[in-house]
Amino acid sequence: METNYETIVIGGGVVGSGIAYHLSERYKEGVLVLDKKYPMSGTSGSTQAWVWVHNKTPSWYAEFSMYSAELYPYLSKKIGDVEYKRTGGLSPFFNESDREKAQKLAESYRKIGIKIKVLSREEVLEKEPYMNPEVAGATYSSIDGNVNPFRLIDMYMRAAKRNGVRYSTYNRVTEIRQVNGKYLVVSDKGAFECKNLILAGGTWSREIGDMLGVKIPVNQLRGQILVSEPLKPFLNFTISGLRQANNGEVLMGYSMEEAGFNRATTLDVIQETANMAVRYVPGLRKAKIVRAFSGIRAMPEDGFPILGNVPGYENLYVAATHSGVTLSPLIGTLITELIMDGETSIPIDRYSLSRFG
């Protein structure tokens, strides 16, 4: 295998593969993606994979997410069917007291051009007839949707490989050094040299940054999800908490726990998730649960993406974020612009690693 590359991406998940693919659209010089296991074995393969804009705060972060959601239809045309569906998103609330909060959210979004409706109980039930009739209302946005994460990453990899990107999987990076103005990346399967190095290690960003003495403050947040047997299509929207996939199975869950890298599923959270699901959609009571799974999200310390040049290092880039599925087409586009043009089409200064001091 070649040992010299123009660019190496560490991490082949939705963020790393998204960058590798977008880079390969414009740039036929050698690109190598290194992954410690096989892409999808971490966060990218254990997600409900909403492409989600509404309810993100502050509104500038929602705007950033909106630009990414807008790229999805084009992405599907370029890399193949990733089962992206812009279903519209529905976030139900069960207490009338939440309506004011929902209206304030809609108001703050109106200023940036994201339309959110605050629905009455009747409007919710008209849109989603299987929703619990005790629902008080919901926020609704037409831009939200979901994607099949496995197809997304598989298609990214296939398209990137067609454009000349090399993947080296089951290949853990053990050491990174700067040598003669280049980066030497030592891995289980040998050492590789590159000019541009992109750190896209997701939940492992902190550990990878440490190899270069760069502090990337990303923590882990566990989420647990239940999967039903395939049911006939009956849910119309991506509901915050559950969605129905193309094959009919319903994915349920919206939980957050600090558990480090422990990916166990636990009965207490499974029970809470079941309670949430039957509260939202009582008709699911009799549905069979086929499996539970959990995933570890990458969560930067302040919750927002860490993107761009690493201050003080030439040709070193970082992309570490929560909501990798939602943001991947935009992050891929922006990091490619940064490398190719030295600037980005929309500003990313506020996402710089330098904000952590």
């Binding site: 509104s59 915050s240 599923t265």
Partner: protein, 112 residues
């Protein structure tokens, strides 16, 4: 096992053929779970109880890994399908589970 041809169905629940399994391995997949994530092999109601050994055999044939080096699929609760209501406790208080609107914070009456 040498009777497998490309069209042999390996996963009956999801109707995944031998050829689809082989393709994942030729693209760098090495474990049952890699095959599972890309093809859905083993994701159906039987939860990999039928196809595990056949997939292991294909991995062995293609990569030369010995059976002991091929990890088993990750087994996931509840192992056999059970009704959602069996898991529900009807409690309406939540700690780890959130609603998205819970996460929207107001500051001086305005969204942050």
């Amino acid at each position: 096992m040498n009777k497998l041809d490309k069209t042999t169905i390996i996963c009956r629940c999801e109707e995944i053929s031998c050829e689809e399994v082989e393709e994942v391995i030729s693209n760098g997949g090495r474990t049952f779970d890699d095959v599972k994530r890309i093809t859905r092999c083993g994701m159906g109601p039987c939860q990999a109880k039928i196809c595990t050994s056949m997939v292991a055999e294909i991995i062995h044939q293609q990569t030369g890994l010995s059976p002991s080096e091929i990890p088993l699929p990750r087994m996931r609760m509840p192992l056999s399908p059970i009704k959602l209501e069996t898991l529900a406790t009807n409690s309406t208080s939540f700690s780890a589970v959130k609603s998205v609107l819970d996460e929207v914070e107001l500051e001086e009456g305005k969204v942050r």
